[in-house]
Symmetry: C4
Subunit: 454 residues, 4 copies
């Protein structure tokens, strides 16, 4: 974390993070109380307005605080900590909106006009919903953060939007009924004629109930529009719902497709292997080896790993190989006394593979195209003799496999078969020979090492 100028608050400071989370909670409260006040104002007690002023106070503090928080420049990806630049940026973007959404119109109007139930100033209060952009940008941030599950974040976002839409629509629809001249000809008055006498709770629940009934297109019909104002609002709300529902389903489909893709890819591969085995009447043993290997591959690597490593620059891939395999290669008898530059070149050309138990790494009589190094696991050394397989020995971790064939360029004399889950390093014979030729001395050492072993 870079050093900041005096009087500045780092955006990475844990205390600032806590402050941001606290503000998000206040925004959620605002989003809930604001439509409620708008629709049910005349039934609300005095208390919420005091709470409102306190909440506004916190947001006012945040406006001031923003002038002291550096921002990350979108081009150079560097933190800008110049007071003037921070101020210019904020003043030219959200400042005006933030001030409007924080100004306590409600309380000020109440000072002058104690019993105003008009809609005029109430509309100004709706400006407070501007604060929701904080929630929106928070979700955008969380979606890109792999510490959080994508599906969970996405669903939370959609549930929030749904709940907020239901809440708002319920409140607005109530407001329309409340303001209608003839209470009997309203959606709520037709069922509860004296609804204005009922408690806040019952009216709020009824509004929400109408709202969710319409949103989900259940439409029981026990509550329905009775006049053209309500019809018009209903038309608008149903059109909105059509799109929201389609959007919900679209997102769900997206998540389902993504979440099942791994299982499906796995199934497709296993199926292809099984079909291939069945069509060609492969022996049971080979089919099992194939299926085991595919299972292992999916468990150890996943699908995107190779693709991800491929986009990394060469030096980074070298760093990773060096870190992982340098010691184990250096410890091998064939490379004793060889310069570390040689081993570094060798290691960067090596690839790692996993083998399930009872899988063949190499077959007797195969062309010696690769040299293997057993990183972990255990291997049996076999050979066919008189038509039966005989075990000639075992290879332990850190041992080389197939070096006899590779160094003398003869068909492999043995079959190597794993007995446990094994990790193996592989390097192509031609690459090894190239590197040995380029590094004449080291190549000589290796040949000597090989002769001594024999």
């Amino acid at each position: 974390p870079p050093r900041l100028r005096r009087n500045l608050v780092s955006p990475y400071d844990p205390r600032y993070k806590v402050w941001e989370i606290f503000l998000i909670l206040l925004v959620v409260y605002s989003a809930w109380i604001c439509p409620l006040e708008f629709a049910f104002l005349r039934y609300l007690p005095r208390a919420p307005f005091i709470v409102d002023d306190v909440v506004n106070g916190f947001f006012a503090v945040d406006i001031v605080l923003t002038f002291f928080v550096p921002y990350v420049d979108s081009k150079s990806y560097l933190l800008v900590d110049d007071h003037k630049k921070i101020a210019v940026r904020y003043l030219s973007t959200w400042f005006a909106f933030d001030v409007c959404s924080t100004f306590p119109f409600q309380s000020i109007s109440l000072l002058f006009n104690k019993h105003d139930h008009g809609l005029g100033l109430k509309f100004l209060n709706v400006l407070r919903l501007w604060r929701l952009r904080r929630v929106s940008s928070m979700f955008a941030r969380l979606e890109k953060d792999i510490r959080f599950n994508y599906a969970v974040i996405r669903c939370t976002k959609l549930i929030s939007v749904t709940l907020f839409a239901i809440h708002c629509a319920g409140c607005i629809n109530y407001l329309i009924a409340d303001r209608y001249p003839d209470p009997r000809r309203t959606w709520i008055g037709a069922v509860m004629p004296d609804f204005r006498e009922d408690g806040l709770w019952i009216r709020y629940v009824t509004s929400l109930y109408w709202s969710i009934t319409t949103m989900t297109t259940t439409g029981y019909g026990d509550l329905h529009a009775e006049n053209s104002r309500e019809m018009l609002f209903g038309i608008a709300y149903m059109l909105f719902n059509l799109w929201l529902t389609a959007y919900l389903i679209g997102n769900m489909t997206n998540l389902v497709v993504h979440s099942t893709s791994r299982t499906r890819d796995f199934r497709d591969m296993v199926q292809a292997a099984s079909e291939f085995a069945a069509r060609n009447q492969l022996p049971q043993q080979i089919e099992e080896q194939m299926l085991n290997h595919i299972c292992l591959r999916f468990r150890t690597e996943g699908l995107k790993q190779q693709e991800t490593l491929d986009i990394l620059p060469k030096a980074m891939r070298s760093s990773i190989s060096l870190y992982l395999f340098f010691p184990v290669v250096q410890g091998s008898y064939l490379f004793k006394g060889v310069s570390s530059g040689f081993i570094q070149q060798l290691v960067t050309e090596m690839q790692t593979e996993y083998f399930a138990p009872k899988e063949d790494i190499m077959l007797q009589n195969d062309k010696p195209s690769d040299l293997y190094l057993l990183v972990s696991g255990a291997v049996d050394i076999l050979a066919f003799l008189d038509e039966t397989e005989q075990i000639y020995g075992k290879a332990a971790e850190g041992e080389l496999l197939g070096e006899v064939g590779v160094m003398s360029n003869k068909p492999q004399p043995f079959t190597f078969r794993t007995t446990k889950l094994s990790q193996i390093l592989r390097i192509g014979r031609s690459k090894l020979m190239d590197i040995m030729q380029e590094n004449g001395e080291d190549g000589q050492i290796i040949r000597v090492n090989f002769q001594q072993k024999l």
Copy 2:
């Protein structure tokens, strides 16, 4: 199947599998009876409680049994058969939940308090739904098992979830109406004023009917919430349904997309070939050959086969090739008397291809880049003479095609055209020459074989 210590039950034992399936059936029964008892308890006869105790008994037996079943370690993929480890693992994970979900609270409470209709102990009974995790894990297992159709498993799972949700919601909604002080102001009482006198069957069907009407958002409105308790439950249920419906549709889309992908890929390829032929005004004959080949390709191989074989390790691909093609290659005249190591190397480099009837395998005058071996099917040998195609002979199964061009490095003297569906092995000329050079003696034998044939 590995040998187990004494007193242990193998998880692969068919009898254990049967026991597991039996328990799954009991879980399904529990999932159905548990909400029913919860909501309709006072109308239920005594019998179910006795059945309940028997069911609980079976689950108690399973808890004991679990201490004697080895588990597969998630890291080493090995079966752990140490009594202590098994016990520690179970006690530290699901043991407490399993015991709670098996304890017969209901029966014990009835012993003390014969006519209790309170909700207190009934809630404890809901713990039995914990058993559903068995069903959940069974579905997770089946989804990865290619012996079962993925779409069927997935649909079964979703239908189960849907039915369970409908059942539960119906029961809970009935419970709310049943407990409401004024029976006339309930969703069921408004339509059937004396519903408490009606039979269990009619009340259960009505509850289910309301539940499915709401779930599918049909919402006739003949049954609807009459008081705020019911409204609140309705709101919660409809929100849940919104997500369940979206999830169902997402899964269905996923299955449809997957199930049609093969047909669509096939159509896209055929379409691309047709368009190419039309744009370039290719003769009818070539277009037909193209379309036939694409059809054959889709029938014999499917889409994922090559991809699947590519991820197998080299030794396994060698094993497969050896098994499939070693005899047929060894039987060919050109490779008579050649060492089996040579043939092994050759075979691992070979690729197999299928040709539809009347397709050209090779054209006269083509560069001799590949050697072909007819594994099955039949081939005509043709040549252009005086502007007309003349049949020079036929090749039967096991014969080589194009070896004259390849061995003498001259343009192919003949066109080879299939007369039946044929399978063919192919090896590139350069690879063949490399292997012959590396195995000098065998190469010499091949050249002699070739001369003798000529």
Copy 3:
């Protein structure tokens, strides 16, 4: 079309196709009349039963006919025209079902029992719906036939299923009401108390209306279940609808995704090119060339063409190249007098490319890595002189571009820029040189041709 034995009807005979289409129409009629008779039997006039018998007659003819139609074996893809095999195959598969679905139970029962309104024999009539498998297999066939639009076939299939479901559900629901003891307590009787006196038309429309209202989950509620029988049927129907709707949406999503993929891929590519140009501040002229080329590419080739050509076997690709390009290559001055075998080898290595107007094919001073041949279009030959581009000449169709650089292995002396939409053949210099070396004489002729031109 292969010759058939006597007394056999070719399945490819146009008259047999017409017969099949005629039967499909009869199936559609059966699918409509069968549920209608089942539900509204007592109101139906006598006429349909006579029509029924005629329809049954046609299907009886088809059963007999099937014994004379050869079938395609699923393994060898050959037509089997052995009478015995045809009979065995039919008798062991669909024969029994076909007979049951054709037997005129209805008419026979009416002979014995003139006024039977019981359900007993009516159920046997439902067996006729077995005929629907013909429609099902027809759709499966059409889906794979690229002469028909996939989306249209798929939508037709789904609309048919939907209409059939609506029709059936309406009929069954009416049947339940019709059989209910108290007509007032049925879904239709509650609204139309004397519904049994109403005409068939009004009752059928009302049933369909209820059915579609429920299917689409509109659920106005003007018609709704009044007794538990209707509730149970409603539950079953709504569950089915839940899945049908999800299936419809899944299919629609599939079609939409597929139909828009081309436009979207095009947009993505154009967008990527534009962004690349903007980020690197490329001059207007280069950006336009890029966008033109991408547009052209999408118009001329589509997305799948290269992929499709790649899966064709080598000989087929050679045939296509020979057909398309042999004459134009042979007509070029450089290859005058060269053997046709040489040109064949050359042509099979060539690739075709399209260039939009004002695009550069080759830049002055570029490495001479490829030789181009202008198949169609027109090209300007340009060179930079004193910092300005000057036109040195024009190349017409059939002329070679860049042969000076390629033959003398010097940087290209000119820039070639298209003036019209042009098609060009390209061959790599190294491949050309390899072929010239392998065919010494022809190579010499080419060199002489080149010298003479100079």
Copy 4:
């Protein structure tokens, strides 16, 4: 823009574009007024008919104008400006439809028959909806235009279709009720018995309300079909809605999947890298480098860039490379005095890469496989000495990295690590050596430059 013949209007003329947009607005007006007149004619004042005639006038002008607008030929992509061809094309395609949809049937009929409320001529008026094909083709054009957001265009199109469907269905349903003999037995008359006395506004809103209630499948049931005519229309409308809804959801899913794919690919890659790091216990520093690099890659390049560049022809890629990198390569000390042809060849083989701050470009002791040129950013030169990294120097923009290793073919003596976001050009050692060998003199100059530097 090409020169046109006299008396022709260019389709690219901005004034013609404005005219087209104006006509689109008139079409929107027509689409709204036409069903309204059809259903509510007897309540409409005289004014709309005069407006109608004016609108018809504009379309008549457009018919005439079309004869003077050249068109783009679909094969050659050239503008056809031959009067006769333009006329033939128009007369043989849309002319007849356009005339019919413009002819003022309504006004002419009113001249003869002042008080006609019959449906006869009204149907002719519906022909005006033919004009909607302009809107349809406009959307098809906009979808391919990357200046507009695809999702916005697609959503606008779908919203338009939805609104038009709602509007039409509302009008038709009203018309059915209005013409029904018994006003009390209509969907609107059952609720508003004297609906014919009500104002146009209230009836239009009620119609729309019914329409949207049915479309969204809310189906409150307060307004529902009362007679079989309305039922039949309801059945047709609900079937249509089923498909429209499925189509909306399909499109939404398509857009959601596409819009989230970038974020999801990014997450998948980061996740794969993290898992790889965790499984192999890579040190924190390497993991951070990996994640930074992936983030940078997504920010700088996007997903489709490389794919897009790959389909461009070679000459175009050369042009781009020359434009971007020629000056920076020419300015490098190693290539001082080298011919521009040599630099051109070098530049066309170069690739560009971005490195995040603190990333390694090359590791000490690595094989000298690539030469790098720092285009922008800054780099530290490090070496391990006594087990610690020491900074040996810094490289500024325009400097070469790793040329010592490449020119002398020795392991790289230094590690190069970025300190800022850096852009780097890379060329493989073997390609560089090839080009130097082919251009002997230039190769000599480079060697001299290198010696002098040392």
